[in-house]
């Protein structure tokens, strides 16, 4: 895996004095200073509305900060060209809080999307995607459209899509919010497995159970400020 060549001493995500406000409103994130190194595993906690989703969006380049610097894989967002941004995004797996699945595509095609965008051939796709679908327990729904799935099932599709392309960074926004505890644990083990192979992982979650059980460092957001626990 190419991740073996990553320098683990340099941060792959770096935020310096970052502030974020929406449309001239108040800052929802204030003075964020954060460095995440390759291979690390973080939980991100905070009350609803604390800014977890906003922070994750900065990390996967869906937003620009109102102030401060964001660097991903050492690339400064301020100087990033569109194609460079696309290349970086292909290395980041994202589980969106509201899944962001494509309604008109089957589970199979939804999960295959990052592979197709990366130019993987269909043979590879038809070998690997069904395996993962079976693993997340959706074998019988491979050709189903997301709208016919339960919230928990959709969440698993979103997770499968995020991990299918072996991302170097996995960003998951409350990925287990809609599944039962057993499935949550199972999914966490999947993340753990990826982490062991070198993927850097940041998971926003409310589940104190998971945090206790997996004992990874916790980033906590409160009143727009970030603290490390």
């Amino acid at each position: 895996m190419s991740k073996g060549s990553i320098d683990t001493t340099k941060p792959i995500i770096s935020l310096q004095n970052v502030g974020l406000r929406y449309n001239g409103g108040p800052e929802v994130l204030k003075d964020i200073n954060l460095e995440i190194k390759a291979g690390e595993f973080y939980f991100l906690t905070g009350a609803s509305g604390a800014g977890k989703t906003s922070l994750l969006k900065l990390m996967h380049l869906a937003h620009r900060p109102s102030r401060g610097k964001v660097k991903i894989f050492g690339h400064d967002l301020d100087y990033m060209k569109p194609d460079e941004m696309a290349t970086i995004r292909r290395k980041i797996g994202i589980v969106f809080q509201d899944y962001h699945l494509l309604d008109h595509l089957s589970v199979m095609d939804n999960i295959s999307l990052p592979l197709r965008i990366s130019g993987r051939n269909e043979k590879y796709i038809h070998k690997h995607v069904p395996e993962l679908i079976e693993w997340v327990g959706l074998k019988n729904f491979i050709n189903t459209k997301p709208k016919s799935l339960s919230g928990g099932q959709q969440q698993r599709v979103a997770i499968a899509r995020a991990v299918i392309n072996n991302p170097e960074i996995l960003i998951a926004d409350e990925p287990t919010g809609n599944v039962d505890e057993d499935m949550a644990k199972k999914l966490l083990f999947l993340f753990l497995e990826l982490n062991k192979m070198g993927t850097t992982i940041i998971i926003a979650t409310h589940s104190t159970n998971l945090i206790k059980q997996f004992r990874f460092p916790v980033l906590h957001l409160k009143d727009g400020y970030l603290t490390k626990e």
Partner: protein
């Protein structure tokens, strides 16, 4: 091996786009075919008739014996023709043939015994190898008698060609208009297609698709729709031309006896769907690029 039709919703354009391209390609192909057939017709007449000259010998109505004078003139003209280089053959219609020829117009009441002075026609075939000095011949005939008219095919053909090229220019403009309308239509269809797919495009951006990738995929999908329409439009125009051809064959002995054209016409008009394809592709691609820039 690589899937090309991923991700986008094309439902809104699924019926509309193929239909509109089919219609446009049909219109443009038929227009183009008309221009081609005009050309064919002209060339046809050119090769078949350019070697023909018609000489009209008119009767002198004031004369006491016009018939006899006409025979005289015909004899002299024949002499002139024999001495003119480049004349392959010539034939003066006799009175009986002339009466036969005129019967449909004048009716049955004339016959060769009744001495009505009739104009007579000499048909002349010129050589392909030795050119005839038409002006000299014309002058000579005019000098001889003002009652003789020389009609070369060229003077007539010149007028015809002038008209034809004017008509063809007009047809060309119509084709350009049709194709421009196609381009504009494709652009609008692309825009509405992109609008429907805003969320899809956003997600594709999020998972790392480049604008180039999105443009390619999207224009390919638009092309699929418009190509299917183009093929249908082309087939419809071929069918229409085939019908015209078959129909005009039945009229073979009628006025448009020469209204036959080579089957290459089906190949020639293939250029229209191909042109439409190129124009659609360009229009779609440019529109997507422009719209994506707005989205980022």
């Amino acid at each position: 091996m690589f899937k090309t039709d991923i991700a986008f919703k094309t439902d809104i354009n699924k019926g509309f786009l193929p239909f509109i391209t089919a219609f446009m390609v049909f219109l443009a192909s038929i227009t183009f075919a008309t221009a081609l057939i005009g050309n064919n017709l002209a060339n046809d007449w050119n090769t078949h008739m350019s070697n023909n000259i018609t000489i009209q010998v008119l009767p002198d109505m004031k004369s006491k014996n016009p018939q006899k004078e006409i025979e005289e003139r015909i004899k002299n003209i024949t002499k002139i023709l024999q001495q003119t280089p480049g004349i392959k053959s010539h034939y003066a219609m006799n009175l009986k043939e002339t009466v036969e020829l005129l019967k449909p117009w004048i009716g049955d009441f004339i016959n060769n015994e009744i001495d009505i002075p009739l104009p007579r026609i000499i048909t002349v075939e010129t050589s392909n190898i030795i050119p005839v000095n038409m002006r000299a011949l014309n002058d000579e005939i005019k000098n001889y008698s003002s009652l003789i008219k020389l009609e070369t095919y060229e003077t007539w053909m010149y007028e015809f060609k002038k008209t034809l090229s004017a008509v063809q220019t007009l047809l060309g403009i119509i084709i350009i208009l049709i194709l421009s309308t196609t381009a504009i239509t494709i652009s609008y269809a692309t825009k509405s297609g992109l609008n429907i797919n805003k969320k899809v495009i956003n997600i594709m951006h999020m998972v790392g698709a480049t604008n180039k990738y999105i443009t390619n995929q999207f224009s390919r999908q638009m092309m699929k729709l418009s190509i299917s329409g183009g093929i249908v439009g082309y087939m419809f125009s071929c069918f229409t031309i085939f019908l015209i051809k078959t129909f005009s064959k039945d009229l073979n002995d009628g006025i448009i006896a020469n209204f036959q054209f080579s089957s290459y016409i089906y190949l020639y008009i293939l250029i229209i769907p191909i042109l439409a394809g190129i124009i659609s592709k360009t229009s779609a691609t440019l529109t997507i690029k422009k719209e994506l820039k707005k989205m980022v």
